[in-house]
């Protein structure tokens, strides 16, 4: 009579199931890791594009004379594609909905909101103050608040950037 070893009796349903579960877990972990990397990379890319777009707007404001600025109280909004390509711009007032809502309503767009204000010389402090020679009178400083956001369809990776630049009105 031939002896039948236990190892030759094949795998039980439980063993097969356990193997499949382990393989599934490994595949899920690997895929999740790759997905996290891709999402991280995309977020980094979008963040860089927002920074690039904001940087271009800051450079433009730096080079412009104040006479070319919108009036104090105005709001300039610019919309760019997710790749940083300009789409359109709108001018309104600081209190307009388009200015208050800093995220583009059209999904995957980068939105840059610029709010123009004036008469802030009394509230500004700088370090070191010794040689800045800030004017003591009003109406000589112009403040522009710039906010950059990106709002993809999922609505989960908005990356707002806010900075304030000051421009002194020439005497």
């Amino acid at each position: 009579m031939t002896k039948v070893l236990k190892s030759q009796s094949g795998m039980t349903m439980l063993e097969v199931s356990a193997g499949l579960v382990i393989l599934g877990v490994l595949a899920t972990v690997m895929n999740s890791y790759l997905l996290i990397q891709q999402v991280g990379s995309l977020k980094q890319e979008k963040q860089t594009q927002i920074q690039d777009v904001v940087m271009q707007n800051v450079a433009e404001l730096h080079g412009k004379g104040l006479e070319a600025y919108p009036d104090a109280g105005s709001c300039l909004t610019r919309y760019y594609s997710g790749k940083g390509i300009f789409i359109r711009e709108e001018t309104g007032a600081n209190g307009d909905a388009a200015c208050i809502n800093e995220v583009s309503p059209n999904g995957a767009e980068i939105k840059v909101t610029m709010r123009f204000r004036q008469n802030l010389s009394g509230t500004m402090t700088f370090e070191p103050a010794a040689f800045l020679k800030l004017p003591s009178s009003d109406n000589t400083l112009f403040e522009v608040e710039i906010v950059g956001t990106y709002n993809p369809p999922s609505g989960k990776t908005s990356a707002p950037l806010t900075l304030t630049i000051l421009k002194r009105k020439k005497a």
């Binding site: 031939t2 039948v4 030759q8 009796s9 094949g10 595949a27 690997m30 890791y33 790759l34 990397q37 991280g40 990379s41 690039d52 940087m55 271009q56 707007n57 800051v58 450079a59 433009e60 730096h62 080079g63 412009k64 004379g65 104040l66 006479e67 070319a68 610019r78 300009f86 711009e89 070191p128 010794a130 040689f131 020439k170």
Partner: protein, 366 residues
């Protein structure tokens, strides 16, 4: 009796299982490989970003302290009027130790930029008497204010031993900003030590008129200046111009920023010849494949408003003379690719604002 399932595997079963195993192994291997590659790429990118940020911080600090000067100097020769405190070197001009390469008429692979940067001190010294460069044939003495030792750190010349290879003098009436090279030896007195080229003196000679007045005591800095050099080593031509008493003197340094032929980013100081490697990409297994510099000048307000984008920046040298007087932004564009596979890994673009010296003139061309 031995049942079928106890007889072992047939050849076909073995081959099928081996084939399946191979497929699964291959898929797993590809997955792990992708994982490792992605991990390595992420680590490399993070490293490059970190190092590139330090490069950009240094460039931001140096170029950000650059000011557009007026009247302009020659860049290549003393009369070509292309140097305004910053200027790109044409790719047709060879600079020792710098790689220069144009891609086409509107793109460069490796650019070279020359700029003069203010030192990071707080306050300027002022001229104690009228000073004219038109008399410069040999080094000429200049007398400047000094301050008590306890105030020294707040001012540009930190007492004896301070070295400044060059000075900017801003005329108090803001008619000009000119660059001068500090001479090691004086014109009419004993040679100065190389470490005392800006020296503090106590004397009875009145710095305003140069007359000895026994019984009086004056303390001031004195320095001997020469005309600065163009890239070809020739001195700029002196101009008939007086800097009035009270004009400001700032120590400055002129640099060349470029990629070395080995692909490192280097910063060379022109007068002293000191060279610093800002970045060596070799340890990261990446190549520097682009280092391009551009400038932007805001068009006149009368023209159609221009939205600023990277694509509107111009290549050096200053080609549009109408925009020369309103240059207000500088851009650095760096690109890195993997040594193996030549895949583009990272691109860094940064805009650095430039200042115009004459505060009466707006940044825009008006």
């Amino acid at each position: 009796m031995i049942s079928k399932r106890h007889r072992g595997f047939t050849l076909i079963e073995l081959m099928v299982s081996l084939a399946l195993f191979s497929l699964i192994s291959l898929a797993a291997y590809q997955g792990v490989l992708t994982l490792i590659k992605g991990q390595n790429r992420a680590v490399t990118q993070a490293s490059i970003r970190m190092v590139a940020e330090t490069v950009l911080a240094e460039v931001r600090r140096r170029v950000g302290n650059t000011i557009i000067i007026d009247p302009p100097e020659g860049l290549l020769v003393p009369t070509d009027n292309l140097y305004r405190g910053i200027a790109g070197v044409p790719t047709t001009t060879t600079i020792a130790g710098c790689a220069q390469q144009a891609v086409d008429a509107s793109n460069e692979k490796f650019s070279v930029v020359r700029f003069t940067s203010f030192e990071y001190k707080v306050g300027p010294e002022t001229l104690l008497g009228q000073w004219s460069e038109s008399e410069i044939g040999t080094p000429k003495r200049l007398h400047l204010t000094t301050h008590p030792e306890d105030n020294v750190p707040q001012f540009v010349f930190q007492g004896p031993g301070f070295t400044a290879p060059e000075l900017y003098i801003i005329d108090a009436d803001k008619l000009s900003l000119r660059r001068y090279r500090v001479a090691v030896t004086g014109p009419s007195s004993a040679p100065l030590s190389p470490y005392d080229i800006v020296e503090q003196v106590n004397t009875d000679v009145d710095p305003n008129d140069g007359v000895s007045k026994p019984g009086n005591s004056y303390t001031y800095h004195q320095v001997s200046l020469q005309m600065p050099l163009a890239l070809n080593g020739m001195a700029q031509v002196p101009q008939v111009h007086n800097n009035i008493t009270g004009s400001f003197a700032y120590p400055v340094r002129t640099f060349l920023l470029c990629a070395s032929p080995e692909g490192k980013i280097i910063l060379k100081e022109e007068v002293t010849g000191e060279e610093r490697v800002l970045m060596d990409p070799t340890p990261f297994n990446v190549n520097l494949t682009k280092l391009e510099f551009r400038y932007y000048g805001t068009p006149p307000t009368a023209a159609a408003p221009e939205r600023l984008e990277f694509s509107r920046f111009h290549l050096f040298p200053f080609s549009d003379l109408n925009k020369v007087s309103c240059i207000n932004n500088f851009m650095i564009d760096m690109e890195f690719t993997a040594v193996t596979g030549n895949a583009k890994l990272e691109q860094f673009r940064e805009i650095i604002p430039l200042q115009t010296f004459n505060t009466r003139r707006p940044g825009a061309c008006l």
